[in-house]
Symmetry: C2
Subunit: 198 residues, 2 copies
Amino acid sequence: MTQPSSLDELIEALRCLPGVGPKSAQRMAYYLLQRDPRGAERLSAALDHALKTLRRCNRCNTFTEDEVCDRCRSPRRDSSLLCVVEMPVDLNTMEQTHAFNGLYYVLMGHLSPLDGVGPKELGFDRLLARATDGIVREVVLATNFTNEGEATAHYISEMLHPRGLKISRIARGLPVGGELEYSDAATVAQALMERRDY
Amino acid sequence: MTQPSSLDELIEALRCLPGVGPKSAQRMAYYLLQRDPRGAERLSAALDHALKTLRRCNRCNTFTEDEVCDRCRSPRRDSSLLCVVEMPVDLNTMEQTHAFNGLYYVLMGHLSPLDGVGPKELGFDRLLARATDGIVREVVLATNFTNEGEATAHYISEMLHPRGLKISRIARGLPVGGELEYSDAATVAQALMERRDY
């Protein structure tokens, strides 16, 4: 009386996706089989292809199909500036600003001792080697302003300061279009402390 | 400066999943590549396998790996009762009640003229053939109580009534544990109209 096993297995396999529980997995499976078998075929092939071709860039640690990614190889980038971000999505967000023309280092996470993610797991030795290549002059810390992101930024700055590098942190403050009335007190306090001459 | 193409393709392919937009697709892709490549492998294989092995049951129209599904072949089911549901998930919900021991017919949708889904697209001729096999005596309409579900139930009852079959509709009313105070007026009105002798 049960469902066919290949359907069960598909539902179970879909649960590996972040944020997908048993109900959504079931809905997704039926949807794919009934409405979009071509999409399912494409997804299967894309997963397969991505797993086979993608690796980490030797310089910035992000996903690439080559040993060194396009961005790290580009002569139009200012290689004296190195921006440290947590995830590839953060790198994309930075790029969308068109306000940064340096290079990146993607940590692929943040320090999280409770989850067993320490400096070693995040490969800080590789970041250290990357930042002390003799070309990098300034390291811009662009980890998130969460507890973990802040701790990670702090740790990295402690690690790199003795190397004679300039270390900076992206600014906290009110968002563009932000109104004092609707901002939380901590953000306003930070904006006040980090005020600039005008 | 762009992302590797196999990563782009994976993100694009993940968007075929229902409820997954560009942001979630990106998050899912990074998650799979970074944290769960094994899950990704398994998902790719499960999709592939499901597409290859799953077909529609000749009798109830649900997904199965055989010509006729286990349930339709079972001698322990009352084959004089045929319950019509919209989707396989609805069938599962019915089964979880353990209150129905008949057989099913899964429409794989509901009438939705605006989306071009009419009686022909839903294969009502197959349902008609199934319901008039000479064994079925009662057809229980268990489509949803949405406009589309109601219209579908109405259409099916019109189609089957002249065939001398008993047609019934699952009841509307207050949910188990439901309180009048917190029920919407339409549900209470329906519960009143469909009141039973006590």
